[in-house]
Amino acid sequence: MASLGIDVLFKGTNFLRLLQGLWVSIEISLISVVLSILLGLIVGVLMTINNKILHAILKVYLETVRIMPQMVLLFIVYFGTTRVFGWDMSAEASAIFVFTFWGTAEMGDLVRGSIKSIPVIQFESALALGMDKIQTYFYIILPQTVRRLIPLSINLITRMIKTTSLVMMIGIVEVLKVAQQIIEANRKVSPNAAFGVFLVVFLLYFIVCWPISRLATYLEKRWA
């Protein structure tokens, strides 16, 4: 075990710091994911509306998010807004904003795809039963959409959790940064620590992402 360098994690408060770093990652991703799902549902429904102007705006939004690397978005929001507008947004707020901005666009596109995949006959039948548009969406379309969405959105959620490692670029010390700090601080005494420490980080990410994936499978079965 010593050759893996895992022992460096038990020096001082190293392991506790790693867990604190993990909590920072979870906190940022959890808030962003919840906001992205809520806003993504709205944006997704808007995307299906036949309105050229709205369509163009959402297209620009989605493409912007797809083209811009998250790192660039983080820099623009954290440093750019201070430069241009003089706002002093905290690093955490910037991170949550960027991840929500990204997640909403992708989630919206997933919602759009799921709604489009529901046969037109479902809309027509609901309308024939005398439901109005809002009722149709709430009672007929959205429940079916949500079921189709689960596997797709799990993909997005776990990707968002893993991408939070980028926030170290705006000074937030999250789990991966703590890992690097521990490895570097022990470079001389334990040169192989990188392997062991990253292995533990891998396990931590797994412990976070796995229950989400299990929950998804459960929900998929239950709502099928």
């Binding site: 460096v8 020096k11 001082g12 408060t13 190293n14 710091r17 808030i31 906001l35 806003l39 102007i53 163009a56 705006i57 620009v60 939004y61 820099f75 440093f79 201070t82 430069r83 241009v84 507008f85 003089g86 706002w87 002093d88 947004m89 905290s90 955490e92 707020a93 949550i96 904003f97 929500t100 901005f101 909403t104 170290m168 670029m169 705006i170 000074g171 010390v173 940064k177 690097q180 700090q181 521990i182 490895i183 570097e184 601080a185 470079r187 001389k188």
Partner: protein, 298 residues
């Protein structure tokens, strides 16, 4: 159309910010209106809008924000108790003590050091910041407190003490993209270089005897020769001498002047030699103290 988009973005921003509960005071509306104003006020306005804090403002607030590396041992790193430590941090601690303020350390990366200063999100960068002309146009450097240069390490059996000794068929190992590569290509075009992408590859190649010598930052080669038996740094300082200095936001003269005075005063008590002995001695040994340390900015 534009308005819709903007209001949506702003809406998202609000939601995002509110979610963290602490809606951070937006640099005050006064400073954002200053940005818009141009003309004679421009210089003053930009100092306010860019948000750098003068010496008095820092003292008043009771906290100074200092950007340091958190994973570059032994210059700036976090020890096993979660405390910042290292050569740069030792100096930072002294700055805090002499200013009579608390220190808020900000973990920086090589790529965002200038951004941090230009947006005033930190007051001082003390992150192994090498002084270059390009950087000096973006930020203001105080007096330097450390030297860096290139160094060349070679096996004990055939120590390379001058680059003129390199034979026509001999090769020198370098890491691509480093100053060592640029310097040798420019100044010694006849010397054959063996280029590697990563530190570990270059190290293995050198240990296997693929080249007669290895050129890199002198701190790196010195550390290598001390950690590995049988190698000597024949040329500890090659080419242009670069320096490492604290940096502040461009135009923050009060803080810059204070830092310069501080570094001169500390020179009188040989402060940086003490820092070297406390933080770098383990890695670089006593022989290189005078090569690396710069006292009183000279």
């Amino acid at each position: 159309m534009k308005k819709n988009f903007l209001s949506k973005v702003t809406g998202l921003a609000l939601v995002g910010t509110l979610a963290v509960s602490g809606l951070t005071a937006c640099g005050s509306s006064a400073s954002s209106s200053d940005v818009a104003s141009t003309g004679e006020d421009a210089v003053e306005a930009s100092s306010e809008a860019a948000g750098f804090r003068t010496l008095d403002e820092i003292k008043e607030s009771g906290t100074i924000n200092i950007g340091v590396f958190s994973d570059k041992s032994p210059f700036g790193f976090v020890d096993e108790n979660g405390e910042y430590a290292g050569y740069d941090v030792y100096f930072a601690e002294r700055i805090g003590q002499d200013l009579g303020v608390e220190i808020n350390y900000v973990s920086t990366e090589a790529a965002n050091r200038i951004e941090y200063l230009q947006t005033g999100k930190v007051d001082i960068i003390l992150a192994n910041f090498t002084v270059t002309e390009e950087r000096a146009q973006e930020v203001d450097f105080a007096l330097p407190y450390m030297n860096v240069a290139l160094g060349v390490v070679s096996p004990d059996s055939a120590v390379v003490e001058s680059l003129d000794d390199i034979g026509a068929d001999d090769q020198i190992i370098v890491i691509s993209g480093t100053t060592a590569e640029t310097y040798l290509t420019k100044n010694y075009p006849d010397i054959k270089l063996q280029k590697y992408d990563a530190y570990a590859e270059a190290k293995t190649a050198f240990e296997n005897g693929n080249g007669v010598a290895w050129a890199n930052d002198n701190t790196e080669v010195i550390a290598f020769s001390l950690e590995n038996e049988g190698y000597t740094v024949g040329i500890p300082s090659l080419g242009d001498q670069d320096t490492i200095a604290p940096a502040v936001t461009k135009g923050n003269e009060t803080l810059l002047n204070w830092l310069n005075e501080e570094i001169e005063t500390l020179g009188a008590e040989n402060f940086f030699h003490a820092v070297y002995e406390a933080t770098l001695l383990d890695t670089y040994g006593a022989d290189y103290e005078d090569t690396l340390v710069l006292e009183g900015g000279k």
